[in-house]
């Protein structure tokens, strides 16, 4: 930014008559609705759920404090707990790397100056706009049914039919494909990251005789690591909380093969009306996500590259 563009701001600060104190109050007042929204719709439920997690709260009756009982039950009695922890970890391990690789691949393809490139970029972003849409999930379900499009296509090649959603060994992978398909947000960030990489580096690489793969490995990838870190964290957090798409497609079945942690919370909260227990489960998930995020952050010192050394 040059000094010219700063001029209007300079004028503002030079105005002598503005009472600074008053000015701050106005600012605070302006954000009051949002502040209230945060307090009422975010902070209050958060604290309330923490309180409820120590209670037996049947939704139809008033909560009864039972101490750590919910947390104890979860680890010792609830078989579904460990089942859904396993499924969720597997889900995150499959869905996030696949999604990020897909996003990076498409971003590389779209990072060039050709005609209509903006049209293609919008096109590839479309699935993300539909993300979480029930209609898309149902459509996806139809594709993978026993007589669905996918089985008809592989039927032409004399393969299948495969029980994509009915076989407990396959269902989780099938459902994670929908997730991968919704790579738009990460792709846009990757694209922005790619644009930031100075072209001199590629030119230098070219002079040194680097091939496409070498350029990608030694220039693109290291310089993209901050973006990869950001995407990794955001997508992992999202993946841990995924609910709508898997629930619409499989409802956690077959034989609990896709029974994610979010579904366990949902079942306990809204099917069995054990709000206290569901709150405790949510807090366990929250804690787990925080620990994992911290871990990823800490580990990033070893692999994320910042031009300024990360300071």
């Amino acid at each position: 930014m040059n000094s010219k563009s700063l001029e209007p701001f300079k004028n503002v600060s030079r105005r002598p008559r503005i009472n600074r104190k008053n000015y701050q109050y106005i600012g605070l007042l302006y954000i009051t609705p949002w502040l209230l929204g945060f307090l009422i719709l975010d902070l209050y439920p958060l604290t309330a759920s923490f309180y409820y997690s120590f209670t037996d709260f049947a939704l139809f009756a008033s909560p009864k404090i039972i101490g750590l009982e919910n947390y104890k039950n979860m680890f010792s009695h609830d078989l579904n707990f460990w089942q859904s922890v396993n499924v969720t970890l597997l889900w995150v391990l499959i869905a996030v790397p696949l999604k990020l690789s897909a996003a990076l691949m498409v971003a590389l393809l779209l990072n060039r100056k050709t005609k209509h490139i903006n049209f293609y970029r919008s096109l590839y972003y479309l699935p993300s706009i539909f993300a979480g849409s029930v209609a898309v999930s149902i459509l996806w379900r139809f594709l993978f049914m026993s007589k669905g499009l996918i089985n008809q296509v592989i039927g032409v090649l004399n393969l299948g039919p495969i029980d994509w959603l009915g076989n407990p060994k396959l269902a989780l992978y099938t459902v994670s494909l929908v997730n991968v398909w919704q790579f738009g947000t990460s792709m846009v960030l990757f694209l922005a990251g790619l644009k930031q990489i100075p072209s001199e580096l590629y030119e230098a690489g070219k002079i040194d005789g680097a091939g496409h793969f070498q350029k990608f490995r030694s220039i693109t990838l290291p310089l993209l690591t901050p973006i990869i870190l950001f995407n990794l964290i955001m997508q992992s957090i999202n993946a841990f909380q995924d609910f709508t798409t898997p629930f619409t497609i499989t409802q956690g079945g077959p034989a609990k093969a896709t029974y994610l942690f979010s579904m366990l919370i949902y079942d306990n909260g809204f099917r069995f009306f054990k709000m206290g227990y569901a709150s405790a489960l949510s807090w366990i998930m929250f804690t787990f996500i925080i620990i994992l995020t911290t871990f990823v952050f800490k580990s990033s010192h070893y692999w994320a590259h910042y031009e300024d050394g990360g300071k």
Binding site: I26, Y30, I40, L59, F60, A61, G166, A255, K256, R271
Partner: protein
């Protein structure tokens, strides 16, 4: 300075308005507020305008018939406006519970009687219809009425009758030389199933999923024990030996290829009429509730029959479920209990309403309802026959008590049946596991 103050004041007003609207938006609870308002619309000479909300789940036919009936009622009672809120069954109960606890539930809603346990617990959400003089119960069979009471209260008007039967494809039976008058037993079902699959690798005699198996096994359990699934004193209505027997039935059903593999059946849970294998005539028979038969009648080119449920030696009860299909309940917090009661009564007792609603909620539970629809040929002969079969052998024990119908116990069952169907666990181990989980859960329920 003055100008600045004016701007500040203006800002303050705007923001306070925003906050006020936010708070107003959050605290508005229609339905529960203002219970003191006059509810008797009849008392005045001029009838007060009344707005009622009515929610139900259902397929297109039920929706259309109900909307038509509502229109007619509003035409006849211009002071009443009824807002229809209808949706799919999936998520209906969860939404209703959220609405009831949040105070935004409709005035009238459709439920099934197994929800009474939760909905009529510590906080009574459902009006006792017995207190409403505008509702006429005289056309319901007194014995049937008794089965519909929950802790002595009439919490919903039963709209239709329900029963369990075997629904079969006559052409399939012909193809595999299965006599239509076969008396089905838990054993010969598997024997015939094996034969069928040996003759044609793509054909299966039976098809079912874990939700349906839960009901099917409850019939089996009644025959074996004559008990409720969980007795009123929170003890199990079956022994380990009984459970092993029942779970072995599931294991053999799937293991001997008597039924379509779970991998395929699970995709058509609650809508096996859309299962391509059934549509193509490669499945022979299913266990069905009578209210769903009309969906199967719509599948083209099928010639269908109905048969009684499987039986076993030394039965202690027939195990054939008969009861209400759905019931219509009134919100205990409605502003207009009398107006709501009048509408519920009209829906079930008025000849015009009966004719419009047809069998959208099953064969009517009222005697005049059945008479009118039979006269108008609105009950399909197959459905009528199915109802006769079920009523003739009606169980003395079913429907199960409220404890047995707890949703968490239901999930314990269906999870276990899934595991067996997928061959992940054997009947003996599964029975032990089931008992362990039941005992843990029942202990918390008993408190």
């Amino acid at each position: 300075m003055k100008r600045k103050r004016r701007i500040f004041a203006f800002n303050l007003v705007i923001i306070l308005l925003l906050i006020a609207s936010l708070i107003a938006g959050c605290s508005n609870k229609p339905g529960t507020s203002d219970t003191s308002s006059p509810s008797n619309a009849d008392s005045g000479a001029v009838k007060k305008d009344v707005k009622l909300r009515f929610s139900w789940w259902g397929a297109q036919e039920r929706n259309k018939a109900t909307l038509d009936a509502i229109d007619l009622y509003m035409k006849k009672n211009p002071h009443v406006k009824i807002e229809a809120e209808y949706m799919d069954y999936n998520g209906y109960y969860e939404k209703l519970v959220a609405q009831l606890t949040g105070g935004t539930a409709p005035d009238i809603f459709q439920v099934v009687d197994r929800w009474y346990f939760d909905l009529a617990g510590q906080k009574p959400f459902l009006l006792d219809l017995g207190t409403q003089k505008d509702i006429d119960f005289s056309k319901l069979d007194p014995d049937f009425m008794k089965t519909q009471l929950f802790k002595g209260k009439m919490l919903g008007f039963p709209s239709g009758l329900q029963g369990g039967v075997l629904l079969y494809n006559k052409d399939f039976f012909k193809r595999f030389n299965i006599p239509e008058d076969t008396v089905w037993t838990w054993d010969n079902l598997i024997e015939w199933g094996q034969k069928v699959h040996q003759m044609d690798k793509n054909a299966y005699l039976f098809s079912t999923d874990s939700d349906e198996l839960d009901n099917f096994l409850r019939s089996y359990q009644k025959q074996l024990t004559g008990n409720q699934w969980v007795k009123d004193d929170y003890t199990l209505g079956w022994t380990k030996a009984d459970m092993v027997k029942m779970l072995s039935f599931i294991k053999n059903l799937f293991g001997q290829n008597a039924t379509e593999p779970m991998e395929k059946a699970v995709l058509y849970k609650n809508k096996s009429n859309e299962n391509p294998a059934w549509i193509n005539g490669n499945l022979g028979m299913q266990f069905k509730f009578i209210s769903t038969i009309s969906n199967y009648l719509k599948v083209g080119g099928h010639n269908l029959g109905v048969a009684p449920l499987p039986v076993g030696p030394g039965m202690k009860d027939t195990g054939v479920y008969t009861g209400s299909n759905v019931t219509i309940s009134i919100n205990a917090n409605t502003k207009y209990p009398e107006e709501a009661a009048k509408f519920v009564n009209w829906m079930h007792n008025d000849p015009e309403a009966i004719s419009i609603l047809g069998i959208a909620r099953g064969i009517p539970a009222t005697s005049n309802g059945r008479e009118i629809l039979l006269k108008e040929n609105k009950i399909d002969p197959l459905i009528s026959k199915a109802m006769d079969i079920a009523l003739k052998t009606s169980s003395k024990v079913l429907p199960d008590n409220a404890i047995s119908q707890n949703q968490e116990l239901f999930k314990i069952n269906t999870d276990m049946y899934d595991q067996i169907a997928f061959g992940k666990i054997g009947p003996d181990q599964a029975a032990d596991e089931l008992i362990k989980q039941y005992e843990a859960k029942l202990k918390t329920m008993k408190k």
